[in-house]
């Protein structure tokens, strides 16, 4: 991630329950200030003159209390603490909730020091939780992977493999079968909430395009409709395609869980060898369904092996039973 500025925060295109409803009231030249930490601060103590342990690099939130205090300060003609707060250029911005407006003094000082003044119509508590959520997404650990991310039966499948192995072709057929494309070629992966990997298209402005050898670049949204795309999806399964190597032994049973780590999060991992005549999309579809079964607690390979073991056990018991003489047989009774 590059510099994340106050202007980037204003431009965040979040929808519905995530929307921040921000607008800029003043201090526009300061919009280029960088937001360095995913945190916020209520500057009540600082306004009253106590600057010890003050977190200047955080976004400063002014709610009803702080705004009322600003009005009190203005009536008393006090502006020293406001000046002390606004003159720091490590403060990224000040933000008023509830649609509140700053006092004239405050506004003039903010303009003087080029400190951006933002406003939202949301109540403080709701806004703070939305802002923390948005910022922790932005500041989450991230990396870009070469691969294709598709949603198959509700499971986010990241298809990896060398160039030319057929990732995009497999994804195209999956889209054609009614599944959804999230990103082709460059998948941006973010680790959110510590253990969830979210995959995005690396560049949202370029939209959902794919490069298919022989066809060139195609627009998936226009060709297959909005039902064929998704903006982001949790990565729940990694399928690595590789050219069939006859010397290598591939998993034949699938009873052991293989995982692969991305950004410190373990994700179920499958290695699928590719050779002409193998229908990779069907294999990926089946892998996704199998993954869903596993999430429901049913492990095909394990259950199968359980039945084999049970069957062998009964066979064993039965043969032993037939070999031994029955102690309650009529012969025994007559001799006894």
């Amino acid at each position: 991630m590059g510099r994340f500025t106050v202007l980037d925060l204003l431009n965040l295109d979040l929808k519905e329950h995530n929307a921040l409803n921000l607008r800029c009231l003043g201090g526009r030249p300061g919009l280029s200030r960088e937001i360095r930490v995913p945190d916020l601060n209520r500057p009540g103590l600082a306004l009253s003159g106590f600057f010890e342990n003050f977190g200047p690099e955080r976004i400063q939130i002014f709610g009803r209390g702080e705004t009322a205090y600003l009005q009190k300060l203005e009536q008393e003609g006090e502006s020293e603490t406001i000046q002390r707060l606004l003159s720091r250029d490590d403060v990224p911005c000040v933000l008023f909730t509830h649609g509140l407006e700053p006092t004239k003094d405050f506004y003039a000082l903010a303009e003087q020091y080029n400190c951006p003044v933002l406003q939202t119509d949301l109540p403080s508590s709701e806004f703070q939780s939305r802002l923390i959520r948005a910022l922790s997404n932005i500041f989450a650990a991230q990396e870009t992977r070469h691969g294709v991310l598709v949603e198959v039966f509700g499971i986010g499948v990241l298809i990896l493999g060398d160039s030319g192995v057929g990732k995009s072709e497999a994804a195209l057929e999956l889209v054609e079968r009614g599944h959804r494309l999230v990103a082709d070629d460059a998948v941006e992966i973010r680790c959110v909430a510590g253990n969830i990997l979210l995959g995005y298209g690396a560049n949202p402005t370029l939209g959902h395009h794919m490069e298919i050898r022989g066809l060139g670049i195609i627009n998936i949204t226009h060709l297959f409709g909005v039902g064929a795309i998704r903006d982001k999806k949790q990565i729940q399964l990694i399928v690595e395609l590789e050219d069939w190597d006859s010397d290598k032994s591939y998993d034949r049973i699938g009873a052991e869980e293989r995982t692969r780590e991305i950004l410190g999060v373990k994700v179920a991992y499958l290695q699928v060898p590719v050779k002409p005549g193998r229908n990779i999309p069907v294999i990926i579809e089946t892998a996704a369904m199998n993954e869903r079964l596993k999430k429901m607690g049913y492990y095909s390979a394990r259950e199968f092996n359980q039945s084999v073991l049970k069957w062998l056990e009964t066979e064993n018991a039965r043969s032993r039973h037939f070999q031994e003489r029955d102690p309650m047989s009529l012969d025994d009774l007559s001799t006894g």
């Binding site: 991630m1 870009t144 160039s163 460059a186 370029l206």
Partner: protein, 88 residues
């Protein structure tokens, strides 16, 4: 491993045609080749990847190659940048 910094010298930046040229050149070599900017690294054999880098006029990239023919690959690719992708 061979690395070299290059600057995009054609006005239009890396759009579809230069990207295709890069991919075609990179695919001739066996080495693993990647382009890196400040915050991401992208496989040089993937056309969509290169376009999404959004490399514009005068910005710089690092070419990194690893493999048996890495030196030749980096030479051939940096020559494309020098030649402004046969544009202009």
């Amino acid at each position: 491993m061979t690395e070299r910094d290059v600057v995009i010298k054609n006005r239009a930046g890396i759009h579809a045609r230069p990207a295709a040229l890069i991919v075609q050149t990179a695919s001739k070599y066996k080495s693993k080749i990647a382009f890196r900017n400040e915050h991401e690294e992208i496989n040089a054999k993937s056309i969509m990847g290169i376009i999404t880098l959004g490399a514009s006029y005068n910005s710089s990239l690092t070419i990194r190659a690893e493999g048996e023919d890495e030196a030749e690959a980096v030479d051939a690719l940096s020559k494309l940048f020098e030649d402004r992708f046969e544009e202009e």
